[in-house]
């Protein structure tokens, strides 16, 4: 036989073979949510837990401790840790590939707080509301509940959340006899004074790069101004509201008045923290880890000279706002150990685990009561006491199209802040792009 015919036959056979293989793919038993077992039973069972490091107070890993404690409550359940990348995008890639292909492993995975919308839509996580008592979710702050729920159902058990804070150079304030600013207007004033003295190059820095972190900052400023970028159910965009206008005008003015350097529009978390720890900036908005890093002599040249407060509001407002970062547990719908997976995911969100986080962890617990418990007070972390008073503002994550909505926000906000677009035109464009995204048309 000459090459052409034989090649064709072989190719066809191979093709048919692989198609057949893929076609009759045995999938994990898709347990109907109605009969999801909740009783763990006595036989030994292993739960694969896809997770990244949860920081302890001294930079170690809290997970072995959590697993150990869980073992006391459920001695027959073994937790097997599968190491995940800490980067949210890389994680999402792998998890999407695996779960969409019907993989039964991992059983429980550690996921970003911004994923519920997407994961619900694409059936990559299990709806949880009916698996726990109705009042289970009341343990968490309202903002967090909004962030974790999609169409009235919950897809994530929160583990820990992250809030953003204003970190500042206490030593410089002392040196020049200045007060800790109580509003954004005062931050501007104090920054200008400090820059004039020559002790710092920059006043206030934040993460203004064209990425998700900018969305966090924008949402926060808009909340400070009293508004939101979308409606409650995240079906309509409200980017052209007067509150959004005020917030973006303020962000643009920070640059034009020299309070924030243009470089800040290229900063992601690490870069903004570097600007602060190398002594160039007086004020920094960043997540809770930044305070600890800035005060540690191994990583900062301004260690010991750092103060922390909540993000201020505008003059005349009392509420302080932060958006919600953090991670939670999602359950793989194809898991072969549904009861055990549920037990583990739920346990991490419940009192025992949350108290361990308070006592030994370096992160903020999701559970409201834990944040104000005696253990939390004893831990004496400034982040905890500030977090207890914060008003949490969720990003518009309850939609399946969140990454594209976010892109509409951060691209245009960066352009407005940089002075490349006028506030009005920029917000109009943001509105249009958000609307396109919410309609599922954005590419």
């Amino acid at each position: 036989m000459d090459i052409d015919r034989r090649g064709l036959l072989v190719g066809a056979a191979g093709l048919a073979g692989t198609v057949a293989l893929a076609g009759c793919a045995p999938r994990g038993e898709r347990t109907e949510i109605g009969d999801w077992p909740t009783e763990v039973g006595d036989e030994p069972v292993t739960v694969d837990w896809w997770s990244a490091q949860i920081a302890t107070n001294d930079g170690g890993d809290l997970r072995p401790r959590l697993i150990e404690e869980f073992g006391k409550a459920y001695p027959n359940v073994r937790i097997n840790v599968v190491e995940a990348a800490a980067d949210t995008d890389t994680n999402r890639t792998t998890l999407t590939t695996q779960i969409a292909a019907g993989s039964q492993s991992p059983d429980v995975f550690h996921g970003d707080i911004a994923w519920p919308g997407q994961f619900a839509e694409n059936k990559l996580a299990t709806p949880l509301k009916t698996l726990v008592p109705d009042d289970f979710w009341d343990q968490y702050p309202e903002g967090l509940r909004t962030a974790a729920s999609v169409d009235g159902d919950y897809y994530m058990f929160p583990i820990y959340i992250d809030n953003s804070f204003l970190v500042y150079r206490q030593d410089l304030l002392d040196k020049h006899g200045l007060q800790v600013p109580a509003s954004w207007e005062e931050v501007v004033e104090t920054s200008k004074k400090l820059i004039d003295t020559g002790d710092v190059d920059y006043g206030f820095v934040y993460q203004g790069n064209v990425y998700e972190g900018m969305t966090c900052n924008v949402v926060e400023f808009v909340a400070d101004a009293g508004g939101l970028l979308t409606d409650e159910g995240v079906t309509e965009a409200t980017a052209t509201s007067s509150e959004a206008k005020r917030a973006l005008e303020f962000m643009a003015s920070l640059i034009t008045e020299g309070v924030t350097p243009r470089a800040s529009l290229t900063y992601i978390e690490q870069a903004s923290l570097d600007a602060f720890t190398t002594g160039r900036a007086a004020f920094l908005r960043n997540w809770s880890y930044s305070y600890d890093t800035a005060n540690s002599p191994e990583t900062s040249s301004v260690a010991g000279a750092v103060g922390i407060r909540s993000r201020p509001g505008f003059d005349g407002t009392d509420e302080t706002h932060t958006t919600i970062g953090g991670w939670g547990s999602y359950i793989n719908p194809h898991t072969l150990v549904p009861a055990a997976a549920l037990a583990w995911a739920r346990w991490l969100a419940d009192e025992d685990a949350q108290q361990i986080i308070v006592r030994e962890g370096g992160v903020i617990p999701a559970r409201t009561a834990s944040l104000t418990s005696p253990d939390a007070v004893a831990a004496a972390k400034p982040q905890y006491s500030i977090a207890a008073d914060y008003t949490l503002v969720p990003r518009p994550t309850a939609t399946a199209f969140y990454p594209k909505v976010s892109q509409g926000i951060y691209v245009n906000a960066n352009s407005i802040a940089a002075g490349q677009s006028a506030v009005g035109t920029g917000l109009d464009r943001m509105q249009r792009q958000m609307e396109t995204a919410l309609a599922g048309q954005a590419l």
């Binding site: 990425y211 290229t266 691209v411």
Partner: protein, 319 residues
């Protein structure tokens, strides 16, 4: 996988009636059978492992796809994904940038690689050391090389930032401006890939017989003339292959922009592969993502076909 051992011995000369090795028809048939046996393992493997995934992806690109508990569900067949691409400003921008990136990096690498190969060819004792040195950037894991350059370009403590600041007095934010980010990306790629181009070209260079150079020298040709009249014509097959595959790689570049710029600032350095990744795995938008992959393949494929047609003889290595 030692498939060769399983398929040997090749048809023996005397034992079969046909292909006894005597007479031209017999030899042709033997040669063909041998060639068949020699090539089947490789081709079969490629077929089995790559054809199904590629076809699967192409099928998905023509569908509205959703993910259900049972996996990918094709809701309906449509060309809407391609329509969306053609109406998407982001896609045209990614295409334009990828083309620009390909043309610039391949050209620079070929020129620098050629110069480097010429130098290497004339080195005596030090050639071995130079080759070893040139292999090191190539042997670095791409992700790590990208992190190294990210460190070099960092706006607070990167050495490139400090060097430029020393010269111009202005602190640049290299990865923050579209133009400088693109240039930075290309420099990192060129640094890592030129050594390999140089080595490919060197292997072709050394095949040029000494006599041709001597003849040119006797003719009184200058170095420039010698290069274009003696070296390039003989180097053309190697050169063509180098261009072809460098273009293929550059068009599909992913690892470097993924780590260095994430396609940023904004979408300024978003290549087609990065956009495909974003749409597929960040937006979890399967149909359009597959369409991006397929159109990329078509564009590069057509480009290569045209290229091959133009350089048909050289590519086949016929002398």
């Amino acid at each position: 996988m030692t498939t060769q051992a399983g398929t040997a011995p090749a048809p023996a000369k005397a034992s079969t009636g046909r292909g006894s090795g005597k007479g031209p028809r017999g030899i042709v048939a033997t040669r063909r059978r041998t060639a068949l046996i020699f090539s089947t393992p490789a081709l079969l493997l490629i077929l089995l492992v790559t054809v199904f995934p590629v076809l699967y992806s192409i099928v998905l690109s023509f569908a509205r796809v959703s993910i259900d508990y049972d996996g990918f569900q094709i809701e309906e067949f449509t060309v809407g994904n391609y329509g969306a691409l053609l109406q998407s400003g982001a896609w045209y921008q990614a295409l334009g940038f990828t083309l620009l990136y390909t043309v610039v990096t391949v050209t620079v690498e070929l020129v620098l690689g050629m110069l480097a190969a010429l130098v290497l060819e004339r080195l005596g004792v030090t050639r071995g050391w130079m080759l070893a040195l040139l292999l090191v950037p190539w042997s670095l894991v791409t992700i790590v090389s990208a992190q190294l350059w990210r460190y070099i370009y960092d706006s607070t403590y990167g050495i490139a930032t400090w060097a430029i600041q020393g010269v111009t007095g202005d602190a640049p934010v290299i990865l923050g401006e579209p133009v400088s980010a693109a240039v930075a990306l290309m420099v990192a790629d060129i640094w890592k890939t030129t050594p390999f181009v140089a080595i490919i070209l060197l292997a072709g260079l050394v095949m040029i017989p000494e006599e041709h150079y001597e003849a040119a020298e006797l003719d009184g040709s200058s170095a420039w003339q010698t290069f274009w009249q003696v070296v390039m014509p003989q180097l053309l097959p190697t050169f063509t292959i180098a261009v072809l595959f460098r273009v293929l790689q550059a068009f599909g570049v992913f690892d470097l922009p993924f780590v260095l710029t994430q396609g940023g600032p904004g979408t300024a350095t978003q290549t087609l592969a990065i956009m495909g990744y974003r749409v597929l795995f960040q937006d979890i938008n399967i149909g359009p993502g597959a369409a991006i992959a397929t159109t990329t393949a078509i564009i590069v494929g057509v480009g290569c076909l045209l290229f091959l047609r133009a350089f048909r003889n050289q590519a086949r290595g016929e002398s």
